[in-house]
């Protein structure tokens, strides 16, 4: 509820600003951090911010959840919900695969830091 009140008082674009902040924070983690698991966390944040970006425009103040009932007239937009449900599922599928790859990398290199991995590759190439 807090989000909604804030967004009302801040001229209607507050939601979008928070979304953008979350998005760049996720992007920053993905680019700047060398740890492979941390990168995946960043990717997750990046994705959830996109969910928010889709869901937020569909909300109507005074509307209810899109479950039909004679007592209500105004509903929030169901279409983004459908799309984002699918996107969440896809996201968790990718996450699982990414973690599996991380585990394999750690077994092959004994490290999950990007810099160390690149170093070891360079060493192996020279040898």
């Amino acid at each position: 509820m807090m989000g909604i009140n804030n967004s009302m008082s801040l001229g209607g674009h507050f939601t979008y600003l928070v979304t953008v902040f979350l998005m760049i924070a996720g992007l920053f983690i993905v680019i700047a951090r060398g740890n492979l698991i941390k990168k995946l966390v960043g990717l997750g944040i990046f994705q959830t911010s996109v969910y928010l970006l889709y869901i937020a425009p569909g909300k109507l103040v005074g509307g209810t959840a899109p479950i039909l009932n004679d007592a209500f007239q105004v509903y929030s937009n169901p279409l983004p919900h459908v799309l984002i449900l699918t996107a969440i599922v896809v996201g968790v599928a990718t996450l699982a695969l990414g973690l599996a790859l991380t585990v394999r990398i750690r077994e092959a290199y004994d490290s999950i830091e990007e810099d160390e991995i690149l170093e070891r590759d360079a060493l192996a190439d020279r040898a």
């Binding site: 599922v89 973690l99 599996a100």
Partner: protein, 141 residues
Amino acid sequence: MKNDLILRVMAKLLIPFILLFALYVQFHGDFGPGGGFQAGVILAAAVIFYALIYGHADARKVVPEPLVESMMAIGVLIFAGVGVAGLIFGGNFLDYFVLDQNPVLGQHRGIFWVEVGVATTVSGVMLKIFYIFARRGQVDE
């Protein structure tokens, strides 16, 4: 953790309710929030909970791994099968209108089976991934 009495008793109390809740989410998804995907995840969570308290070996006895692996495939086949059933009864692919004389009932039937397929695949995959991670850990340490 395996021998903690409180955990074991609480788990025994809770797991049936989690399973029941999963079924509720599955079949009540048409009327309230919920659906196949959420139900599948909750179902998998119940078994994961069991595995955490009683150990992986016991969990594998209750829900054996080959079963889990086939569940993954069967779910997709159920879903695609509903689509092909639409073809066979003379409609387009995934056409639920033709599944019953009454098109609206046909829709209900189609959605029901589709959700069953989704739940089967999702719970199968989640469990399988959990089992595999758990087993890797045992080999490693």
